[in-house]
């Protein structure tokens, strides 16, 4: 999980939501084996190394439940 952090307790589940699963261009999200405290099933990232840090998952998550580490050497803030 080097480049991605999943806030499992904020997640509303791959079944009911599942937007990250859809939006990852590499299709790296699969349902995890556990449910969070609210009964939702968070995703899990299958192949960390294949992640390009495109940030789709972070940007599309309606619950701000996925954070992507900043790419090294990348432009910080766009004006």
């Amino acid at each position: 999980m080097a480049g991605i952090r999943l806030y499992e307790e904020l997640c509303k589940g791959v079944e009911e939501c599942g937007i990250c699963v859809e939006m990852c261009p590499k299709k790296l999200f699969k349902p995890s084996g556990n449910l969070n405290r609210k009964g939702y099933r968070p995703p899990r990232l299958t192949d960390v190394a294949a992640c390009t840090q495109c940030e789709n998952c972070m940007i599309f998550c309606p619950d701000l439940a996925i954070a992507v580490a900043e790419k090294r050497g990348r432009r910080k803030v766009k004006r």
């Binding site: 307790e9 939501c17 937007i19 940007i59 599309f60 309606p62 619950d63 954070a67």
Partner: protein, 277 residues
Amino acid sequence: MTEIVHPLHRFIRPHVTSTTNCPGCGNGIAAQAILRAIDELGMTLDDFVFVTGIGCSAWIPSPFFDVDVLHTTHGRPIAFALGIKMGLPEKKVVVTSGDGDLAAIGGNHLIHNARRNIEMTVICLNNRIYGMTGGQAAPTTPLGLKTATTPYGTFENPFDISELVIAAGATFVARWTTYHPRQLTAWIKKAIQKKGFSFIEVITQCPVQYGRKTGSGSAVEMLREYKERSISVKEAAGLPKEKIQGRIVVGELVDKEAPEMLEEINRMRKRASGEKT
């Protein structure tokens, strides 16, 4: 290695532990886009006052954002926002509200403030339904759709809210969908910086009251539909009207200049005290 932290979590009100959105709600994507826009502009939430009405989208900043927020009565946020802007002209005043709140009960305030070109940003989360009350038809609901109050299908033509606002005189109007959060962020930044009435229409999925209730699909299916149906302003310009029917024209629809109300009030004050303007 330092812990990864979501860059926008610092904007969330401390006691709020999660969003109140249904799973897959497009409002959440829009909420992030707004916060990202503010962050990328190098501004803080203390530069803003948010004003909302009644409905799911009214809960985008209330209580989620750690900001001064006025959560008002149904249809009226723009009218309250005008008063706030009069008293705090240096703050950015942003209204986030839904299609029902802004264009049905609130229609009058929407068109008049577009006409006044008062500097404020109105973000209309258009999910084409009344979500919070359980899926009733809205003035934006497509003709023929079965909803809670139109069980045999709607029988009214829907609004094109952006066209309405353009006709009323708004000087900055753009439309995107929740399939386009990056573009949404970019245009929200532009809207915030516009010295006039800026309006962003966001076509957003309501997976429960629209998607499930009317049989239009899940959050993911609705996002796919937005992707399919979207067409840029440029493309649409080259097509006959029938070809645009059923498509979602996305992009910047208007960016023009017109006298802005606060500036006109200052001129008026000078006239009142006998100064030459």
